[in-house]
């Protein structure tokens, strides 16, 4: 009888090996970001710029924004439609503003207006970044992100390294490096083609804009470990 009680006690201890909670610090700075990548317009062009507000966990939230121009004679903004019209040659800074939890948030874009017979070469369709380790696993390398017809390409340089000893390796685009919620998986160990760990490689990601994500991160997915992080910036 005593033995039976002891066995029940062991089972009770086992049942108490319950799933508990790990509290994850997933706070990131709020951000207002111009998503449209426009750097040059021809006189007479009318475009609508888009901006997204990302809250303090990197989630996109709907927010009322205000657009301003530094030079209305070059670029004017329709108050109701927020369309931007290129009126004359020159350069103007378009600024978008909103009020976040932490105060006013802004983002700006310098746009050049040229004559309508000038060929515009978009120069801001490329971004870049450098992966650095966040733990003791190997994580390094440069990359570029370019805009394509259907989305973007992430072009890893020859010096790219992901740790081959890392179990459950996965690569993500995200707006919060501390959380995989809303992150977009680019590559993973359990993909049909496996993961890429070293050297030059190009990922094509359809349906994603150049400014949709701010970070490229390497994770050990099963064990929730951020091992490498890069901030994506203008080239």
């Amino acid at each position: 009888m005593r033995l039976l009680k002891f066995v029940f006690l062991l089972f009770f201890i086992g049942l108490n090996s319950c799933i508990q909670e790990d509290i994850v610090n997933d706070r990131v700075p709020e951000e207002l970001r111009i998503i449209s990548s426009v750097n040059a317009l021809k006189v007479g062009d009318v475009v609508k710029l888009h901006a997204s507000y990302f809250n303090n966990i990197g989630e996109k939230e709907s927010k009322t924004v205000v657009w301003e121009t530094s030079n209305p004679t070059v670029l004017s903004i329709d108050e109701f439609t927020t369309n931007i019209t290129a009126k004359a040659e020159g350069t103007a800074t378009i600024t978008v503003k909103t009020i976040g939890v932490s105060g006013e948030l802004t983002d700006s874009e310098i746009i050049m207006v040229v004559k309508d017979d000038v060929v515009v070469i978009p120069s801001e369709n490329t971004k870049k970044g450098t992966i650095t380790p966040t733990e003791s696993y190997d994580a390094s390398g440069d990359f570029e992100v370019i805009k394509t017809t259907n989305g973007i390409q992430i072009i890893l340089a020859n010096n790219y390294v992901a740790d081959e000893s890392l179990p459950g390796f996965a690569l993500f685009l995200t707006n919060n490096p501390n959380s995989l919620v809303n992150a977009l998986q680019i590559d993973a160990y359990d993909d049909a083609d496996g993961a890429h760990y070293k050297g030059a490689f190009t990922y094509s990601v359809n349906g994603v804009g150049l400014n949709d994500y701010q970070y490229l991160v390497q994770w050990c997915r099963p064990f929730s470990i951020l091992v490498g992080k890069a901030t994506i910036t203008d080239k």
Partner: protein, 285 residues
């Protein structure tokens, strides 16, 4: 008297589950133990021996251990982890309180060991034996949503050890020391391993034994299995560690007792970096 003390030492040695005893049970004698073992870890040793954080994972195992002397020199040994629970905590946002990643658990039987111990030499207070343990792949080598909740490694291994032990008096109390070396032949692409260990214990009071133990596992790194082809399994191949532990065993009656163990890895590679605890009820008949 000395002979009696030696016998007591030998007797008590079998209390300690998986302690690689050097003395045979003797024909018809048996030792049986039911145990609960728990390890909860939010950090691990990486492949270069550094300590990195991870989502908290737990491993809880209920097991039966048995030794039985089929002849004077041969014992059969078995270890049956009849319930192994692998779980991971829910990941919760500090900012919003929302769940970032649901917790998960898998309950299944673990890998069963069966083996034989053969007494090679017994002279005065010295004993030499060899043990062959077969690790049967009875556990789940893939479990949970991503396959990483494993209760077994999915391979059949053979661990051959050479064990030596001596009993003596320490501060006029019965004491012993023993050591072993072993080779673990692993299959399915896992690297083979070299094992060694040291253990020393003494009888503090009439019914209480305490012991300290050091174990080490060293990978030959000759396997083909890597993190890339082991599908998210972290604690599988090329594990290395040096662990130290302490254990106390208390005899409630002459045949029935309880034991408690605390063990932690002081260095390692690809293994959790937190201590484990276990408790058990043993029967020595």
């Amino acid at each position: 008297m000395k002979y009696l003390q030696s016998v007591i030492v030998i007797y008590v040695l079998f209390v300690f589950q998986q302690s690689d005893a050097q003395w045979n049970k003797g024909k018809g004698n048996g030792y049986y133990k039911i145990s609960a073992w728990s390890l909860v870890a939010d950090q691990h040793y990486t492949n270069i021996g550094e300590i990195d954080p991870n989502a908290t994972r737990g491993n809880f195992t209920l097991s039966l251990y048995g030794e039985y002397g089929v002849t004077k020199k041969i014992d059969v040994i078995t270890y049956i982890p009849f319930l192994t629970r692998i779980y991971q905590n829910t990941q919760v946002s500090e900012v919003t309180g929302n769940v970032l990643q649901e917790g998960e658990a898998v309950n299944a039987i673990g890998d069963i060991d069966v083996g034989l111990r053969y007494g090679l030499l017994k002279k005065n207070h010295f004993a030499l034996s060899t043990t062959l343990k077969l690790g049967l792949p009875t556990g789940k080598d893939k479990g949970g949503s991503d396959g990483s909740f494993q209760t077994g490694d999915g391979e059949f291994n053979q661990l051959l050890t050479l064990d030596a032990g001596i009993s003596y008096q320490l501060f006029s109390k019965p004491a012993y020391a023993k050591t072993y070396i072993g080779f673990n032949n692993r299959t399915q692409g896992f690297s083979d391993e070299f094992h060694y260990g040291l253990e020393s214990g003494m009888k503090l009071w009439n019914k209480l034994w305490v012991l300290a133990r050091l174990n080490s596992v060293n990978s030959f790194k000759n396997g083909t299995l890597s993190a890339q082809n082991s599908q998210g399994s972290i604690f599988a191949n090329n594990i290395e560690y040096v662990s130290v532990g302490a254990e106390a065993a208390y005899y409630i009656t002459s045949k029935l007792g309880v034991s408690f163990n605390y063990t932690g890895a002081i260095s390692g590679r690809i293994i959790y970096a937190k201590p484990s605890y276990s408790g058990g009820l043993f029967l020595d008949i």
